[in-house]
Symmetry: C2
Subunit: 346 residues, 2 copies
């Protein structure tokens, strides 16, 4: 049961072409091919073609200390937010002849850490980490060790380490502007846990927008996780609490918003007629949901692609690329409407 199908080695190509292994190596490497005579190059290429020669990456990797692989750590590839990012990453890496080694942390920081260890042991040339918590020190440690690393979607407190994140404030301000224009004043924020930059920044963005558009703060309900069920539970509790029912809910995340909608409907209230709901992320099929979800979106693919470009630059020697923010945009759909209270008042 031979594993590697006695693949041709560089020495086979050398024999077949009549040149030495060194010349073969040079001829086949685009960066050094210029140091080889055209005739030698042709002979080598022909021989390689005939034999179906493919350099052994493990040997090359051992020798050069480069693996042409970038490690990608995500909480869960099955979370609809990530596949497009990963696709963006992959497309960019592909163009540079790189591949991506994927690891799921399942949302567990310890598992994320283990995944990073393993990726590093595998000799990845760089790391894209989408699992960072705000107080996470690992990215800083990696950065200080000169490991090419870029943070995706979430960042840490340490702004030195390069990141690609969504610039939520613009989209959020637009959303709140619309809500206010539509007569909503009883707006509740459905926040995500505050240990990630996304959860934290989103709450700050909403508060900032509220200060600007309403001149006051908004009541906040905090979900215990970023999931449909956490959103459901938070809003179910709110509606059961006897507090005044909001006319609009601005959620930190589409999944949270979906949970909120379920809780609202369970109380026999309607979206958007009774309560408007706004999400964040514009995850796939948001526009086909019932109701089509108004949300604050950004280009997931581009975010991933940008992160990949940044690691590639770091791998190429750019020690400190500057962090990138992906713009967000308000996408009004059918989960938001003019406030009933406001219109009846008119």
């Amino acid at each position: 049961m031979p594993k590697r199908r006695n693949a041709p080695r560089i020495s086979d190509v050398a024999r077949e072409s009549g040149f030495s292994v060194a010349t073969v190596s040079r001829a086949l490497n685009p960066l050094t091919a210029s140091a080889v005579s055209p005739e030698a190059r042709r002979a080598v290429e022909a021989a390689a073609e005939v034999l179906g020669y493919r350099p052994n990456e493990a040997a090359r990797s051992l020798r050069t200390n480069k693996s042409l692989i970038v490690g990608v750590v995500v909480p869960d590839i099955a979370n609809p937010l990530f596949p497009r990012m990963v696709r963006g990453i992959d497309d960019v890496l592909d163009d540079a002849n790189y591949s991506s080694l994927l690891a799921n942390s399942g949302g567990d920081p310890a598992k994320a850490d283990k995944a990073i260890d393993r990726l590093l042991q595998r000799g990845v040339d760089g790391l894209i980490i989408a699992t960072a918590n705000l107080e996470d020190r690992r990215p800083s440690v990696l950065f200080d060790s000169n490991v090419p690393v870029v943070l995706l979607n979430r960042r840490t407190y340490d702004t030195r380490v390069p990141s690609v994140t969504a610039a939520g404030s613009r989209g959020t301000t637009a959303a709140l502007t619309q809500l206010v224009k539509d007569g909503h004043s009883n707006i509740t924020v459905l926040a995500a846990p505050q240990h990630t930059s996304t959860g934290w920044e989103r709450l700050r963005d909403i508060e900032g927008a509220a200060a600007k558009r309403l001149g006051r703060t908004l009541p906040v309900v905090k979900a215990t996780a970023v999931s449909e069920s956490a959103g459901y539970e938070a809003i179910r509790d709110l509606l059961e609490s006897g507090d005044s029912v909001p006319t609009a809910i601005v959620a930190a995340n589409d999944l949270l918003a979906l949970g909120a909608i379920r809780a609202i409907r369970e109380r026999n209230l309607r979206v958007p007629q009774d309560i408007s709901v706004v999400g964040f992320n514009d995850m796939p099929f948001c526009d086909r949901l019932d109701p089509p979800l108004s949300t604050i979106g950004f280009d997931h693919y581009k975010m991933g692609a940008e992160a990949a470009r940044m690691v590639m630059n770091m791998i190429a020697g750019d020690v400190k690329p500057k962090s990138v923010r992906i713009p967000t945009v308000w996408i009004p759909r059918a989960s938001t409407a003019v406030c009933r209270d406001a219109s009846s008042r008119v």
Copy 2:
């Protein structure tokens, strides 16, 4: 700009522990650890711990001809069908200390082939291919070369190569039974292209179920691709053709079904009141769409996990694992209803 942070090598551990590199190697490998004295083992483990030693995978890989990596080729990770499969794969591989190298083909057979080449060159120990077309020969060639390979979701004509696919007939029969019971007799099939096993089998399943439940064949409309827009175009053309409007459409795929729904609504017809629509796959959030999509589903995660288990077995020496079929189940939701014609007739 040193890439590998002068990581400790096995010789460092040897010096630190006072044993030879051979003993260190044996002590650290679970399979050979028994051949080492307990004291040596303890000393080695302590030294490795102190130094933070991690074996260099490239070197190990070069020596052993194993990479602990499985290549995974999918058409597009951003297609909602795949993330859960990939998650299933990853979880199983993870348990065996394996990682997955992901490649997107973008639906292009030539790109899929290139991806396989690259994966092989990288020395993957096995391959999970989710991009196979029915007449695709590559998987057979790989199989014949003793490359551990398993086909995921789609298979080829060559039934020798192990595959994990959905067993559509049960779910499809249940769906058609319900449709017939609900009074539908004017049922049109929205088929996918027939060059993949999924497209081909789904059509056969539906035809088989129709023969069984209706004793006749059904009119078939073929989409030019497996996408929302292809489904839209096919049904738009059907509705514009002047042919009799079906009371139900059974699509080979959820995306196709979604496109069909869009086309139906564009003609100011309603789903399910005027036309019932059935999908296939039960992709994520199907239940939250407008309308919640009745579909034939199966366990995506399990399918991926099963494929991973099979490659692992093949890597371990099981030359010919038998193919697995994942059962499907009919999931009635709100895109199907009792046929209006039938009820008015009563």
